[in-house]
Amino acid sequence: MRAELEAAALAVFEAQLEAAYGAAMAERSGQEAPAPPALTTDPALLRRVLHLMDIARRIEERRCGRLWADELLGLEAVRNARARFDAAHPQCPHCAAPLAKATDTRCWRCWSEIKN
């Protein structure tokens, strides 16, 4: 189950980046933003992953109370997915946006040059 949750979380992170990237490119070119990418993740898994991501956010904000044991395991899967996502999409040193590709020489959000 952890592997499935991790894959679902990774798909959500990738979809979020794709949506933000698409919106930024559209704004830059004065075109209409493309439709957000359709996720093929199982709907039940997706709901669980979104819940786990919400908990992760609340933990960062230090406002999460008790946790269930399976939430702790799920959070580990989300953290692993985040680590894989961060490795594939290093942050822009100027604005911290995840780069579309590790080899990008310009940030899609702040348009700063990236020295690899």
Binding site: A44, R47, H51, D54, R57, C64
Partner: protein
């Protein structure tokens, strides 16, 4: 001693203690039809199963859009689980309709679905309930057994007062409704999840404090214990559902927190 149902109707209170739920309507040809059901509150296991089946169908439909799922199947199962008899239908030769061993199957499918839809029919009142200083209130309207043989009686002013949700309550709700279990041995990866309505039934019992507009034995319901025992499960869902949705925003945060953050 006055009849308790008549007394309740006089006071315009919805009688929760009806022994049977009678769904009366006129069909497409103007014929009066009556479908008599066991009260859903006495068939909670079947009602919970209905919600689970409906949720499973919805998930399956989302997994394979356009695969031709039968979304009415859970309603047909609920009809079969709750119906006791029908009136207003006649067999050729004049025999009583319910003498047939397969009388349920011989009913027009649209009548079965229509009757079960009416059985579950309860809506949130368009007029917003006044803001209660202490509780979260939701007002409903519903059709219920009435004096007329071919129509239902509309009851309004059905007020449900809940203890406000805490952040822990919302977390628990999200946790219980998002938990997934993998189906072992399935040909394709398949995951089960509890129907939100099943969790809502438990939350209703936990958070309800008072109701108005309902009666048991011709009297208003006195306390939360009586409400838990007598309230119709579809009314429980219809009262709690909008409240939960108001609290939750995409991502699962509580709406109140957004205001505090500003």
């Amino acid at each position: 001693m006055p009849d308790e149902a008549a007394q309740s109707a006089e006071q315009n209170l919805l009688p929760l203690d009806s022994n049977e739920r009678v769904i009366a309507f006129r069909d497409e040809r103007g014929m009066p039809r009556r479908h008599i059901f066991a009260p859903p509150r006495l068939k909670l296991a079947e009602v919970r199963e209905f919600f689970q089946q409906a949720h499973d169908e919805m998930l399956a439909s989302a997994r394979k859009p356009g695969a031709g799922r039968d979304l009415a199947k859970p309603r047909r199962a609920l009809y079969r689980a709750l119906v006791l008899r029908v009136e207003g239908y006649t067999l050729t030769g004049g025999r009583p309709f319910c003498e047939l061993t397969n009388w349920i199957e011989r009913l027009p499918p649209a009548h079965r679905l229509g009757a079960v839809n009416l059985l579950m029919g309860v809506t949130r009142a368009e007029r917003a309930a006044e803001i209660d200083p202490e509780f979260d209130a939701v007002e409903l309207e519903a059709d219920w057994n009435g004096a007329q043989p071919d129509a239902l009686t509309k009851f309004s002013g059905l007020l449900h007062r809940f203890e406000p949700f805490t952040e822990d309550d919302l977390h628990e709700f999200q946790h219980k409704t998002s938990r997934v279990t993998e189906v072992k041995g399935a040909r394709e990866p398949k995951f089960l999840q509890a129907a939100p309505e099943k969790v809502m039934l438990d939350f209703y019992d936990q958070k309800i404090r008072a109701v108005e507009g309902y009666s048991v034995g011709g009297q208003l319901l006195a306390d939360a214990e009586q409400i838990r025992a007598w309230m119709d499960p579809f009314h429980k869902i219809s009262a709690l559902g909008p409240l939960v949705r108001e609290y939750l925003v995409p991502g699962g945060a509580a709406a109140g927190e957004e205001e505090e953050a500003e």
